[in-house]
Homo-oligomer: 100 residues x 2
Protein backbone atom coordinates (compact mmCIF):
# COMPACT_ATOMS: atom_id res chain seq x y z
CA UNK A 1 0.00 0.00 0.00
CA UNK A 2 1.00 3.59 -0.58
CA UNK A 3 2.13 5.54 2.50
CA UNK A 4 -0.67 7.38 4.36
CA UNK A 5 -3.34 5.25 2.73
CA UNK A 6 -5.66 3.31 5.06
CA UNK A 7 -7.65 0.19 4.16
CA UNK A 8 -10.64 -0.05 6.49
CA UNK A 9 -12.17 -3.53 6.73
CA UNK A 10 -14.97 -4.99 8.78
CA UNK A 11 -15.99 -8.63 8.93
CA UNK A 12 -19.54 -9.18 10.14
CA UNK A 13 -22.50 -11.45 10.64
CA UNK A 14 -26.15 -10.43 10.48
CA UNK A 15 -29.06 -11.28 12.72
CA UNK A 16 -31.01 -12.18 9.57
CA UNK A 17 -31.41 -15.68 8.13
CA UNK A 18 -29.04 -16.62 5.33
CA UNK A 19 -30.51 -15.66 1.98
CA UNK A 20 -33.46 -13.81 3.51
CA UNK A 21 -34.94 -10.63 2.01
CA UNK A 22 -33.86 -8.83 5.20
CA UNK A 23 -30.25 -9.90 4.62
CA UNK A 24 -30.38 -8.69 1.02
CA UNK A 25 -31.94 -5.40 2.08
CA UNK A 26 -29.16 -4.77 4.58
CA UNK A 27 -26.46 -5.55 2.02
CA UNK A 28 -28.05 -3.19 -0.50
CA UNK A 29 -28.14 -0.45 2.10
CA UNK A 30 -24.50 -1.11 3.00
CA UNK A 31 -23.50 -0.65 -0.64
CA UNK A 32 -24.54 3.00 -0.39
CA UNK A 33 -21.61 3.59 1.97
CA UNK A 34 -19.54 3.63 -1.22
CA UNK A 35 -21.10 6.98 -2.10
CA UNK A 36 -19.82 8.78 0.98
CA UNK A 37 -17.05 11.23 0.03
CA UNK A 38 -13.53 9.87 0.44
CA UNK A 39 -14.49 6.20 0.12
CA UNK A 40 -12.37 4.45 -2.51
CA UNK A 41 -12.05 0.84 -3.70
CA UNK A 42 -15.26 -0.17 -1.93
CA UNK A 43 -16.03 -3.89 -1.82
CA UNK A 44 -18.86 -5.85 -0.22
CA UNK A 45 -17.64 -9.43 -0.03
CA UNK A 46 -18.46 -12.89 1.25
CA UNK A 47 -16.32 -14.15 4.12
CA UNK A 48 -15.64 -17.79 3.29
CA UNK A 49 -13.13 -19.13 5.82
CA UNK A 50 -14.37 -22.13 7.82
CA UNK A 51 -12.13 -20.93 10.67
CA UNK A 52 -14.43 -18.11 11.83
CA UNK A 53 -18.15 -17.33 11.94
CA UNK A 54 -18.21 -14.07 9.97
CA UNK A 55 -20.25 -14.18 6.77
CA UNK A 56 -19.55 -10.87 5.06
CA UNK A 57 -16.87 -8.26 4.74
CA UNK A 58 -16.75 -4.62 3.75
CA UNK A 59 -13.48 -3.20 2.49
CA UNK A 60 -12.80 0.43 1.61
CA UNK A 61 -9.74 2.60 1.26
CA UNK A 62 -9.03 6.20 2.18
CA UNK A 63 -6.26 8.46 0.90
CA UNK A 64 -5.25 9.19 4.49
CA UNK A 65 -6.47 9.23 8.07
CA UNK A 66 -8.13 12.61 7.64
CA UNK A 67 -10.35 11.23 4.87
CA UNK A 68 -11.14 8.22 7.07
CA UNK A 69 -12.11 10.53 9.94
CA UNK A 70 -14.37 12.58 7.67
CA UNK A 71 -16.11 9.38 6.55
CA UNK A 72 -16.50 8.26 10.14
CA UNK A 73 -18.20 11.52 11.06
CA UNK A 74 -20.28 11.87 7.89
CA UNK A 75 -24.04 12.04 8.59
CA UNK A 76 -24.77 9.23 6.10
CA UNK A 77 -22.32 6.94 7.89
CA UNK A 78 -23.63 7.83 11.32
CA UNK A 79 -27.22 7.28 10.17
CA UNK A 80 -26.34 3.89 8.68
CA UNK A 81 -24.66 2.81 11.92
CA UNK A 82 -27.55 3.93 14.08
CA UNK A 83 -30.45 2.81 11.91
CA UNK A 84 -29.07 -0.41 10.41
CA UNK A 85 -25.70 -1.60 11.78
CA UNK A 86 -26.50 -1.53 15.49
CA UNK A 87 -29.83 -3.31 14.94
CA UNK A 88 -28.95 -5.86 12.29
CA UNK A 89 -25.32 -6.87 12.86
CA UNK A 90 -24.81 -9.56 15.49
CA UNK A 91 -20.99 -9.76 15.46
CA UNK A 92 -18.25 -7.79 13.80
CA UNK A 93 -14.55 -7.05 13.83
CA UNK A 94 -12.86 -4.02 12.34
CA UNK A 95 -9.31 -4.35 11.00
CA UNK A 96 -7.54 -1.40 9.42
CA UNK A 97 -4.41 -1.81 7.37
CA UNK A 98 -1.67 0.57 6.32
CA UNK A 99 1.81 0.32 4.84
CA UNK A 100 4.50 -0.77 7.29
CA UNK B 1 -13.50 -9.34 -6.72
CA UNK B 2 -13.62 -11.63 -9.73
CA UNK B 3 -15.62 -14.86 -9.31
CA UNK B 4 -13.60 -17.85 -8.01
CA UNK B 5 -10.83 -15.59 -6.70
CA UNK B 6 -10.04 -15.85 -2.98
CA UNK B 7 -8.37 -13.18 -0.86
CA UNK B 8 -6.72 -14.86 2.12
CA UNK B 9 -5.96 -12.53 5.02
CA UNK B 10 -4.53 -13.05 8.47
CA UNK B 11 -4.24 -10.46 11.22
CA UNK B 12 -1.65 -11.30 13.85
CA UNK B 13 0.46 -10.27 16.80
CA UNK B 14 3.95 -11.54 17.59
CA UNK B 15 5.48 -12.67 20.86
CA UNK B 16 8.39 -10.33 20.09
CA UNK B 17 8.82 -6.80 21.41
CA UNK B 18 7.73 -3.99 19.09
CA UNK B 19 10.60 -2.93 16.86
CA UNK B 20 12.87 -5.75 18.03
CA UNK B 21 15.32 -7.55 15.69
CA UNK B 22 13.29 -10.72 16.30
CA UNK B 23 10.15 -9.00 15.04
CA UNK B 24 11.94 -7.77 11.93
CA UNK B 25 13.40 -11.20 11.30
CA UNK B 26 9.97 -12.80 11.45
CA UNK B 27 8.51 -10.23 9.06
CA UNK B 28 11.34 -10.78 6.59
CA UNK B 29 10.75 -14.52 6.72
CA UNK B 30 7.02 -14.00 6.20
CA UNK B 31 7.71 -12.01 3.05
CA UNK B 32 9.08 -15.15 1.45
CA UNK B 33 5.57 -16.61 1.44
CA UNK B 34 5.05 -14.38 -1.60
CA UNK B 35 7.33 -16.71 -3.58
CA UNK B 36 5.16 -19.79 -3.13
CA UNK B 37 3.45 -20.70 -6.42
CA UNK B 38 -0.08 -19.36 -6.79
CA UNK B 39 0.35 -16.45 -4.37
CA UNK B 40 -0.71 -13.16 -5.97
CA UNK B 41 -1.04 -9.57 -4.72
CA UNK B 42 0.94 -10.36 -1.56
CA UNK B 43 1.02 -7.63 1.09
CA UNK B 44 2.58 -7.51 4.54
CA UNK B 45 0.87 -4.64 6.33
CA UNK B 46 0.55 -2.84 9.63
CA UNK B 47 -2.76 -3.28 11.43
CA UNK B 48 -3.57 0.15 12.81
CA UNK B 49 -7.08 0.05 14.27
CA UNK B 50 -7.26 0.99 17.96
CA UNK B 51 -10.27 -1.34 18.23
CA UNK B 52 -8.28 -4.58 18.27
CA UNK B 53 -4.90 -5.83 19.42
CA UNK B 54 -3.51 -7.17 16.14
CA UNK B 55 -0.36 -5.47 14.91
CA UNK B 56 0.23 -6.90 11.44
CA UNK B 57 -1.63 -8.34 8.51
CA UNK B 58 -0.77 -10.56 5.59
CA UNK B 59 -2.96 -10.41 2.51
CA UNK B 60 -2.66 -12.59 -0.57
CA UNK B 61 -4.91 -13.61 -3.41
CA UNK B 62 -5.40 -16.87 -5.27
CA UNK B 63 -7.00 -17.43 -8.67
CA UNK B 64 -9.27 -20.03 -7.11
CA UNK B 65 -9.69 -22.42 -4.20
CA UNK B 66 -7.51 -25.06 -5.85
CA UNK B 67 -4.56 -22.62 -5.95
CA UNK B 68 -5.24 -21.73 -2.31
CA UNK B 69 -5.22 -25.42 -1.36
CA UNK B 70 -1.93 -25.98 -3.21
CA UNK B 71 -0.39 -23.07 -1.29
CA UNK B 72 -1.71 -24.43 1.98
CA UNK B 73 -0.08 -27.78 1.35
CA UNK B 74 3.15 -26.45 -0.16
CA UNK B 75 6.26 -27.59 1.80
CA UNK B 76 7.54 -23.99 2.12
CA UNK B 77 4.24 -22.91 3.70
CA UNK B 78 4.11 -25.90 6.02
CA UNK B 79 7.72 -25.32 7.09
CA UNK B 80 7.04 -21.62 7.77
CA UNK B 81 4.01 -22.49 9.92
CA UNK B 82 5.88 -25.12 11.90
CA UNK B 83 9.21 -23.35 12.33
CA UNK B 84 8.10 -19.73 12.69
CA UNK B 85 4.33 -19.12 12.92
CA UNK B 86 3.51 -21.56 15.72
CA UNK B 87 6.46 -20.35 17.82
CA UNK B 88 6.39 -16.60 17.23
CA UNK B 89 2.75 -15.62 16.70
CA UNK B 90 0.78 -15.03 19.89
CA UNK B 91 -2.66 -14.30 18.40
CA UNK B 92 -4.13 -14.42 14.93
CA UNK B 93 -7.34 -14.46 12.95
CA UNK B 94 -7.77 -15.66 9.40
CA UNK B 95 -10.43 -14.05 7.21
CA UNK B 96 -10.91 -15.12 3.62
CA UNK B 97 -12.92 -13.09 1.17
CA UNK B 98 -14.57 -13.88 -2.14
CA UNK B 99 -17.10 -12.25 -4.44
CA UNK B 100 -20.70 -12.47 -3.26
Amino acid sequence: MVADRVRHTVAFTLVHAEGSPEELDFLHAAEHLANIPGVEAFELLAEVSPKNGYRFGIVMEFADRAAYARYDGHPDHIRFVQERWLREVSEFLELDYAAR
